[in-house]
């Protein structure tokens, strides 16, 4: 329980700690019903109730009845204004301490939580950046004063600040594929840091900018010590999708393989054509790799996929046993699973793909609007 009294601001970072530490929290979400249905704060220790703020204009009795006596209370809305408005009234109505989410769901969607995933043989470190509100995962591999960033999201300051804190220079920026659920920060980060930007050629399609081709057989190194970053062509979510093998130990799978699901092949309109590729990558290509590899995906779909301190990772061998997407032996059934009854497509995914190709240049506010909602890149997301 919080010890402060009255109206309190809670930052997205503080809310993240509640989720990761499985600390009990009651959330009153005051957005309209459809926005709430689409997307909300999730956590194993979080209880959430939706009452739109416009139903509380004449009094907050309906909300007061719902508040638990012995839990911290947080009011959440889209940007902040309405949650502060409602939280103030709850305090006036007699609730001792009420918090509101600073910056609202917008801030929640943009918060990145860096987590150390593991160490390399030569002393380097690999970090995962968990975008907890949206389910995106980015990576930074640091060694000998240099860094490589993989699947950077658009909040590039976070990566720049982190590199500065660690005293490392970002040398390479990679995208494992052309993203459809969120706007890549890869190109912008490379431009701002003077790094080289890498993208699989088959996904580049109509891109209007210069990039280096991320190709199998072309290793990258980072730092003085040699940490091989080996791209491995693993199509299926997109035709260019490329996995990154770091230090023969970590497998960055992009949107091909997740912890509790597998990638969907339909976001570029090519589901039928790419099913075979997806099957081959998951059931043949990855099968040849060591079962001891640690899989690090570009997304998580459910909050239950978050492990210790928020880390999203699993042994490849374990995924072959427990991930439903890796256990469909019948080819026809596999085809049906990945092409039919798929979850709804991510919000504005066509515009997001075009933005990532450089064909659209939305401003910051428009980018935010496009990214609203969950990522829905996996076959089993609902």
């Amino acid at each position: 329980m919080s010890t402060k009294k009255g109206l309190q601001a809670m930052t997205a970072k503080q809310l993240t700690q509640y989720v990761l530490n499985k600390q009990e929290l009651f959330i009153l979400d005051v957005r309209n019903e459809s926005d709430f249905q689409d997307w909300k704060v999730e956590g194993e220790s979080i209880r959430i109730v939706n009452i739109p703020y416009f139903d509380l204009l004449d009094g907050v009795d309906a909300a007061m009845e719902q508040l638990p006596a012995d839990q911290d209370v947080l009011v959440v809305c889209a940007k902040e204004g309405s949650s502060k408005f409602v939280a103030e009234q709850l305090v006036e109505a007699g609730r001792e301490t009420v918090s509101y989410l600073e910056g609202g769901m917008k801030a929640w969607s943009e918060h990145l939580e860096p987590v150390e995933v593991g160490r390399m043989k030569d002393g380097g470190v690999i970090y995962q950046f968990v975008r907890i509100g949206k389910g995106c995962l980015s990576y930074m591999i640091v060694s000998g004063g240099e860094a490589v960033v993989v699947d950077a999201v658009r909040m590039v300051d976070v990566f720049e600040d982190f590199a500065r804190d660690k005293g490392v220079r970002i040398k390479h920026v990679l995208d494992t594929h052309l993203h459809a659920d969120h706007i890549s920060g890869g190109r912008k980060l490379a431009e701002r840091t003077g790094a080289v930007y890498w993208l699989p050629e088959k996904d580049a399609g109509e891109v209007v900018y210069a990039y280096q081709k991320l190709e199998e057989g072309h290793d990258l190194t980072v730092g003085k010590t040699t940490i091989r970053i080996q791209p491995l062509h693993s199509p299926g979510h997109t035709s260019g999708s490329t996995s990154i093998l770091v230090d023969d130990r970590y497998l960055l799978t992009g949107d091909i393989l997740f912890i509790e699901s597998i990638g969907r092949p339909d976001l570029a309109g090519m589901a039928e054509d790419w099913v075979g590729d997806l099957r081959h990558t998951l059931y043949a290509r990855y099968k040849e790799l060591s079962e001891e590899l640690i899989v690090l995906p570009a997304h998580f779909g459910k909050i239950t996929e978050l492990g210790e301190r928020g880390k999203v990772a699993a042994r490849l061998g374990d995924l072959y046993r427990f991930n439903p997407g890796l256990n469909i032996q019948d080819e026809a059934e596999f085809r049906t699973t990945v092409t039919e009854h798929l979850p709804q497509q991510p919000n504005a995914y066509q515009e997001i793909r075009q933005t990532n190709m450089g064909l659209l240049t939305p401003d910051e506010e428009e980018q935010r609007e496009m990214e609203i909602g969950p990522n829905r890149c996996a076959v089993h997301d609902k």
């Binding site: 309209n32 019903e33 459809s34 926005d35 739109p52 703020y53 416009f54 139903d55 204009l57 809305c77 889209a78 940007k79 204004g81 309405s82 408005f85 609007e369």
Partner: protein
């Protein structure tokens, strides 16, 4: 929009962030006359979904939203108590389905829409003529007494008043369309 939508009152919520557009809308509609249309001008993108949900929960009628540059213009019609009330009804009626059959046969007729211009602008029967109920007293002369006149509103209540008004002026070939646009499943058009 091809034409200007008429509102009885305009509420400026430009530059205001949530929750203020709804707070101000609620206050404005409290003092608005029943049946009148409020235009809410807002720049907060979230206001569209919120105003729709709010209207649904309060029983006011959300007509639609028009975007002009950065400004969103939301149109709301205040619901009135008379809309639900049963009064002495105008006896000559036709169902929306029967009217559709007549239209399909190509019969000559006038469809008179007595709703507010904002309602008419967003959703109407093609070729319907617009004379809001409040203007009918002055503009009845625009109608041809020799032609069959079918009067339509949202639910059949305002059109009932309009039929009685026209009958009082000596129009004989007037029928009330039940149950207004709410019962109409045929083609519609809008200014968009």
């Amino acid at each position: 929009m091809a034409s200007q939508i008429h509102a009885n009152q305009i509420l400026d919520c430009k530059g205001l962030a949530c929750p203020m557009p709804i707070v101000k809308t609620k206050k404005a509609i409290q003092v608005l006359e029943a049946g009148h249309v409020l235009e809410v001008q807002a720049t907060d993108k979230g206001s569209t979904a919120d105003i729709q949900s709010w209207a649904k929960n309060t029983g006011h009628q959300y007509l639609g939203t028009v975007q002009e540059g950065d400004v969103l213009k939301h149109y709301l019609r205040k619901a009135g108590p008379h809309e639900a009330k049963e009064e002495a009804r105008y006896p000559h009626t036709i169902t929306a389905g029967e009217l559709m059959n007549k239209l399909e046969k190509g019969e000559r007729m006038t469809i008179l829409d007595v709703r507010e211009p904002a309602e008419y602008a967003f959703h109407r029967i093609p070729e319907a003529k617009s004379i809001p109920l409040g203007e009918l007293e002055d503009r009845a002369g625009e109608l041809d007494p020799a032609e069959e006149i079918y009067v339509v509103c949202r639910t059949g209540n305002r059109s009932d008043l309009a039929c009685r008004q026209l009958a009082g002026k000596g129009y004989r070939n007037v029928k009330n369309v039940l149950a207004g646009m709410a019962g109409w499943t045929g083609p519609t058009e809008s200014d968009e």
